[in-house]
């Protein structure tokens, strides 16, 4: 039942939809291939947990392991800063969706344009729209969503997952990237 179809049933975007992330190893492979990946984290990460771990901690580990800079939108950045995590930048969610359309823009200079973006922590519809901006107007960027629900506008997305399966997937991704357990 929980297939790769939009979690909010009306959010059908057009002829194509995201590829289903069937195996976490794919995320690892994509990240390794990417030249300048970016992790974008929204305020739902402040309240959501994977197993007992706060999503902020999870992303700090992920970022550290894979050396991916983080954009933390709105007040999400406060949580990162409070944990003395430094590889984090503040942009609004609509701002970052706008800036990434400019192929010359990058969160930290010198590393070249972003080519892979991972997202987490937004209201379903807002993430959907941000991904729409990217898929339509930033063709140079591939996107991966890390939330439990299928996002058709991403390049890759989990299907709608049960909590346990999602926890497992996140854990596996982290370990592939060499993060702590």
């Amino acid at each position: 039942m929980m297939r790769a179809e939009p979690w909010q049933t009306a959010e059908v975007c057009g002829p194509t939809k995201a590829q289903e992330l069937k195996k976490p190893v794919v995320v690892g492979a994509l990240l390794k291939k990417a030249k300048h990946p970016l992790l974008i984290v929204g305020a739902n990460a402040l309240t959501e947990k994977t197993r007992k771990k706060s999503m902020i901690d999870y992303f700090i580990e992920l970022s550290t392991a894979a050396k991916i800079p983080v954009v933390a939108t709105s007040n999400t950045i406060k949580a990162f800063k409070e944990k003395n995590f430094d590889n984090v930048y503040s942009h609004g969610v609509m701002e970052i969706a706008g800036k990434l359309q400019d192929p010359d823009w990058m969160v930290a200079p010198k590393k070249g344009p972003h080519d892979l973006v991972m997202t987490f922590g937004y209201p379903y519809y807002m993430e959907w729209l941000m991904l729409s901006a990217l898929i339509n107007f930033a063709p140079q960027i591939k996107t991966i969503t890390l939330g439990r629900y299928f996002q058709p506008h991403a390049t890759w997305s989990f299907p709608n997952l049960k909590k346990q399966k999602w926890n497992d997937a996140l854990k596996e991704i982290l370990s592939i990237l060499g993060g702590t357990k």
Partner: protein, 785 residues
């Protein structure tokens, strides 16, 4: 450029001061206002392309970022067309232009709703009062219609003038709508420019609508002490028959209260309202009651309190008749916009209609004659109340628990919910008689009932939530200040300088609908926060209702706690949606009254003035409608930034500045003609925030304007820094970009800022007399001398 209309009339009868003639032809070159000595500006009654240059300026500075909700176009029978991957439709459009076209379509539809509403009011009032009836915003307001003056170059002195202005508006709307047609416009920037045009026209139409109803219907006239009126379920007197009026057009509701008054039936009736009709009926009659915003329709109808449901136009649940029928509440449709398929009884005998309604022979009727509406509704309400016997369609908790056992755990309810609420989880809790979770869902519910229609068990899930939260809403009542109308010229005179200099750090307008991501408290908290910071808070529409639903420890609403004066710390409800132009009008009047700029037909200069000098920010936390899009568009063209709540992302287009591109932030200094670098403010023109925290920080930042004096800039920066530290947890790293000279630095933050300035190799910059218009060089006086 559109010319002012020439009038040439063949008359059967000509009444002049010189006597009365028959068969006269009158030819008039232009409609001329004899007594008005303000010179005409360059763009009276602008056509679709007249202000295109200005629009292109703004749209280059604030480039659209599109987020299509659909990659197809289905607008003509060449289609559907697949616009993915750079493909073009059969008409040649690509997804970018198509996305802009969708924005234009929305603005057109929104504009049409207001214009049609205004036209109905004007036609009706001319019928009642005659075309010469004088228009007024009340004492202390000489500039009775700043937007109309600015755009059309006409002062609307009479209902007839109002009608002429609407003629102009309707013509422009027809042009902008035309451009949506397949095979017309091809460029995103020109679609956007036309959307701005529609938004500007919308502001004129709304202004006219409110002006004519204020002038004729006994509304408060620019009254900062407009009455506090009762709102909330507990304010209804359930011993009386309850008439619920839903919508925006006050005429039928007013006919109801007037009929009741004339026939001494007020003590038998409570007239209550939802949406803007609620505001306007309390402006007409402060004894009327406010139920709540648009999202409260179902809960109130299902509660059974309403004995008759009257719908006029706009913001009506289109299936309201079916819900009303379930509680035996007859429905009266009154406007051509929303006939709801009901039989037309306009020409029937009142008592026949009432008899049919009271016997439930028909669930509802359409009556196009407002006076008849008044009589039918009052009679029906009184007669039907005893027969309805308090009928409700809200189930008992027991019944809910019983029904909930069969839940299929399919999640369809949650997947249908715009706010992704854990409805299924709440239903499962209700299986165990735990109604807390359902009550929590109620708190963040916008009353859309999508969960219900998705449920394969056909559960009335919204009703379940309402029942679960019954203790709360049954006892809800609060005092809200009804719409005051315009801002007085004297108030403008008092605040003009501190606003333009930045010492009143900004004017924040909370407007629009109730499509909230997580309940209404955020609006209240934002208003309170910024009022405490001495911003001026202006409100209208559903937002103005919602902000009143939160009480402090002493049980007082923000309207009771705070002044309704347009001044630092004031919380000013201008009224219904069509009152929004009082907000734009206040900004315009600052340019006129304080800075002595000519308004008349002088759009570009005034927009440039406001954009660069007046720290106004519009916020529509729950924006839902095409009207909200159009209203926002009217602000964009004036250069005023607008923030929407998260659902506003579904407007699918932001207007984003690039603070990181210095070249985007240049203005002419009107004194020297030099192009000078300014700080990136206002940074964006349209922005959907993720949550209240982002909104707070962004609001403070968007209030910054190039023209701020040193003192003003320092004040604005300290608010921005404070909120940024509170919500983002660190000292913002862009403060130095806003410092032009030492004196701009907030005194208490000197050290930190100095350090940042040093690190960023800060250099002193002039404070310009800022303008985007080359022609204003030397001619501008900037309001600062």
């Amino acid at each position: 450029m559109t010319e002012q209309k020439r009038a040439r009339i063949k008359a059967d009868k000509l009444d002049t001061g010189f006597g009365s003639f028959r068969n006269v032809e009158v030819t008039i070159g232009k409609v001329i206002d004899e007594d008005w000595d303000e010179p005409m500006g360059p763009t009276p009654m602008p056509g679709v392309t007249t202000l295109r240059d200005w629009d292109h300026k703004l749209l280059t500075k604030y480039e659209p970022s599109y987020m299509p909700a659909c990659q197809l176009c289905c607008l003509c029978t060449f289609g559907k067309c697949d616009l993915t991957g750079g493909k073009r439709g059969a008409c040649g459009l690509d997804i970018k232009a198509q996305s802009a076209r969708i924005v234009l379509a929305a603005c057109n539809i929104g504009c049409a709703a207001h214009l049609a509403h205004a036209r109905h009011l004007v036609d009706h009032l001319i019928h009642e009062f005659g075309p010469r009836y004088q228009l007024t915003q009340g004492e202390g307001v000489d500039i009775e219609a700043p937007v109309s003056r600015l755009v059309t170059g006409i002062r609307p002195r009479t209902l007839d003038d109002a009608s002429s202005i609407l003629d102009y508006c309707e013509t422009q709307l027809t042009h902008t709508l035309s451009a949506v047609h397949t095979g017309q416009e091809g460029s995103w920037i020109d679609f956007e420019s036309k959307a701005f045009h529609a938004g500007m026209v919308d502001q004129v139409g709304m202004e006219i609508a409110d002006l004519v109803q204020i002038s004729t219907m006994g509304f408060p006239q620019s009254d900062p002490e407009a009455p506090l009126v009762e709102a909330g379920m507990a304010s209804m007197d359930q011993s009386k028959a309850n008439i619920l009026c839903i919508g925006h057009n006050v005429v039928p509701a007013a006919a109801i209260t007037d009929y009741a008054m004339e026939h001494n039936l007020q003590n038998k009736l409570d007239v209550s309202g939802i949406c803007c009709t609620a505001w306007d009926i309390t402006r007409h009659d402060a004894k009327a009651k406010i139920v709540g915003p648009i999202s409260w329709q179902l809960r109130f109808v299902r509660s059974g309190i309403a004995d008759v449901v009257v719908v006029d136009e706009q913001c009506i649940r289109t299936d309201i008749a079916q819900h009303a029928q379930k509680v035996n509440a007859p429905v009266i449709a009154t406007c051509d916009k929303s006939c709801m398929g009901l039989p037309d009884r306009t020409n029937d005998d009142v008592d026949d209609i009432v008899a049919d309604l009271v016997s439930f022979k028909v669930p509802g009727v359409f009556i196009g004659d407002h006076n008849k509406v008044g009589e039918v509704v009052v009679k029906t309400a009184i007669a039907v109340k005893p027969k309805r016997k308090g009928k409700t369609s809200l189930p008992s908790k027991k019944k809910i628990q019983e029904l909930a056992q069969a839940c299929r755990q399919c999640s369809e309810c949650r997947r249908a919910c715009p706010n992704d609420q854990p409805i299924m989880e709440a239903v499962l809790a209700a299986q165990e008689a735990n109604f807390g979770p359902l009550g929590d869902v109620y708190d963040e519910c916008i009353g859309c009932a999508r969960c219900e229609s998705a449920c394969p068990n056909e559960y009335d899930l919204h009703s379940w939530m309402v029942t679960a939260a019954k203790d709360r809403w049954m006892n809800e009542s609060y005092l809200v200040r009804t719409g005051r109308g315009a801002i007085k010229d004297t108030e403008i005179r008092a605040v003009g300088q501190p606003v333009v200099f930045g010492e009143i750090p900004g004017v924040i307008a909370h407007v629009g609908c109730a499509n909230y991501p997580d309940g209404g408290r955020a609006i209240h908290d934002m208003c309170e926060e910024f009022a405490q910071r001495r911003f001026i808070i202006v409100l209208s529409g559903c937002a103005a209702m919602t902000v009143g639903t939160i009480k402090d420890d002493e049980g007082k609403s923000i309207y009771e706690r705070r002044s309704g004066h347009f001044d630092a710390g004031g919380v000013v409800n201008v009224g219904s949606c069509v009152s929004n132009p009082h907000i734009a009008g206040a900004a315009i009047k600052i340019a006129s009254i304080f800075a002595k700029r000519n308004l008349r037909g002088n759009y570009e200069e005034i927009a440039d003035y406001i954009h660069n000098r007046v720290g106004a920010v519009g916020i529509s936390w729950g924006a839902m409608s095409q009207k909200a899009a159009s209203i926002a568009s009217g602000f964009w063209r004036l250069g005023v930034p607008v923030i929407v709540g998260p659902h506003g992302a579904k407007y699918r287009r932001m207007l984003l500045g690039r603070a990181d591109r210095a070249k985007d932030w240049m203005v002419y200094d009107a004194r020297t003609g030099n192009e000078v670098q300014i700080a990136p403010g206002p940074e964006h023109l349209f922005y959907a925030v993720e949550n209240m925290e982002e909104c707070m920080v962004l609001t403070a930042k968007l209030a910054i304007r190039p023209n701020d004096t040193a003192r003003g800039r320092a004040i604005k920066l300290s608010h921005y820094i404070d909120l940024h530290e509170r919500y983002k947890g660190y000292f913002p790293d862009d403060v130095h970009t806003f410092i032009r000279r030492e004196t701009d630095i907030p005194i208490t933050l000197k050290d930190k800022i100095h350090a940042q300035m040093k690190e960023n190799k800060w250099k002193e910059r002039p404070i310009p007399d800022p303008t985007l218009l080359k022609r204003m060089v030397f001619g501008g006086n900037g309001g600062s001398k």
